[in-house]
Symmetry: D3
Subunit: 128 residues, 6 copies
């Protein structure tokens, strides 16, 4: 029961935040590491994102800041920009978070992050 709880909570959250975008990130390695999907669903979303104490809007802001700082996954950054908008952030807020990273992670990281945002916004405009 407890484990189903995590999985169900994680799935619901993933679906509500990223719609089909999050799924696509996970599809890419489904065939060689099928359990990865359940770790992300159960642990990242069922355990961590589901914790009380911080709203989803703030969680997505934190993740966008981290992914801009890391700079290793523009695809995952784009997915979380979708998530941030789903959680109630404005596009302007997303841009401000990324721009601010110039102070901590340097200008190249911020510029790369802004390009990912531009692409994420274009993807959303296309879907509409």
């Amino acid at each position: 029961m407890a484990d189903e709880g995590r999985t169900e909570r994680g799935k619901r959250l993933l679906q509500s935040l990223y719609s089909t975008v999050g799924e696509r990130v996970l599809d890419s390695v489904e065939d060689i590491a099928p359990d990865l999907r359940s770790y992300i669903t159960d642990f990242a979303f069922g355990d961590i994102y589901s914790r009380p104490g911080l709203d989803l809007r703030a969680r997505e802001i934190a993740t966008i800041a981290s992914l801009t700082t890391l700079g290793n996954s523009p695809r995952e950054l784009r997915a979380h920009i979708h998530g941030a908008l789903s959680a109630g952030c404005t596009r302007e807020e997303v841009i401000e978070v990324i721009l601010q990273m110039a102070v901590y992670a340097g200008f190249p990281a911020a510029i790369n992050g802004l390009e990912a945002a531009k692409e994420a916004f274009a993807e959303i405009d296309e879907i509409r």
Copy 2:
């Protein structure tokens, strides 16, 4: 006038967010790089943190996420934990942001960040 504007805005913000804690970070290199203080005051706070479009609570959440991810400055992370609390975050929210970084930057980064939070909270309890 414009330049005084940045400096004044930056100073006011630094003072309101970090009280004397922020000053101490800058004191350490004052003698060998005196202009660094004005770059941080004018650019980081007078330009970036003063921008409309994102409230200070969200800005501090983004910075805590970035500094936990980078892991290169526990001292600056502690100062921004002070700032987050000044901007209206709860201690629980600060802990949640750092804990969530386990997903993106790995567990060691999250553990280091939580230790910085523990120290920042202890510093604040001492001052009171």
Copy 3:
């Protein structure tokens, strides 16, 4: 039942690999983030390290390589050096893994890793 399985598996593994050393890493943030211990026990050890397909000796070699490359947690690196020796690695093998990181992560990372190894070996010699 499933969840107990993860927890029990993780605890047994943690105990067999790190004895009391691993516990101490987690003690440090127990008070401000009590759930972190269960995430590490259940997810990192109960889920990941317990997977078939790679023996524990190889898992610890991979972790030592990663922590030397990251360079953000000499304490966790020392704990995994204990784990590598528990899993059957020789001290020479631990040193070789870290030294090789000079090629990929640079000499400073390798030197820092070797210092952590020296400290871990000294801790072990003291216990004996």
Copy 4:
């Protein structure tokens, strides 16, 4: 004599581990930095990988862990996945090493590494 020893040892090792794949990584910058090839052959392979005390299977596991953690060279990661298989690792072992990096370097690094593995496996299947 001594220097020839390093070069010969390095060349033999490079050839046995990576066949023609390793060469291609070095071809790309041959024209602007011709000495790089000899540094990698002589130092990385003639000196480091040739050291006793750690078998090649373990050396490739350590390198795959490091390159997944760094995330800066999917091409070099793919070459070392070839090397790991040449040194006796199974595909499952390669996947396990990369998946485990989620714990230390975060999920985005692990996902990127798994994609490189998928591509490396496809390259090998094509050659056959």
Copy 5:
């Protein structure tokens, strides 16, 4: 007046070092973060690069070393290779700086940097 000073100094420097290449880096995010251009012009070039105490040739060498080490922006690295040549560096000097990074940031970072240099040199040869 003071602020115009920074902007004018920064613009002149950007133009003299990178000609139209630098502009293109900034064009990409102009529409979603128009102020980024002025932060880079005013702060990075008007404030930092304009400081006395270090000549532009040495400044570009330092930046090439940093961008090779970071590895997060081959495009910005290419722009600064243009800048280094404009400031009086030879192509050989650019290659030497990047090659040396193998010692500190590892071989993969150096190889990536050398590829960026090769592309930057080809761009320059094409313009001529």
Copy 6:
């Protein structure tokens, strides 16, 4: 003969740039990885730093930029600050290189680098 050439060149360079400071960095891991000293002497200094095409002053500037960006070894950064001064840099030039890293690696990295510079200058003043 060739190998002695590298070793002799490397030793002479290490001695001339860092005097006894460089030795101390290597002393720390001498007992557990005695060959590391020869790799640094022979490869880093005998091969790389001895290459024509870039003067030692520029090489030390590049290394200070890289170590400030990496932030993983304040001790090695201090040693290279000694090296930069030996190679003809002024203290002001060292400070400028580190300060400039705020643009690429972020302010926390630059502040940490400036603290290392302050300590290196104090060490030198003490010796005199």
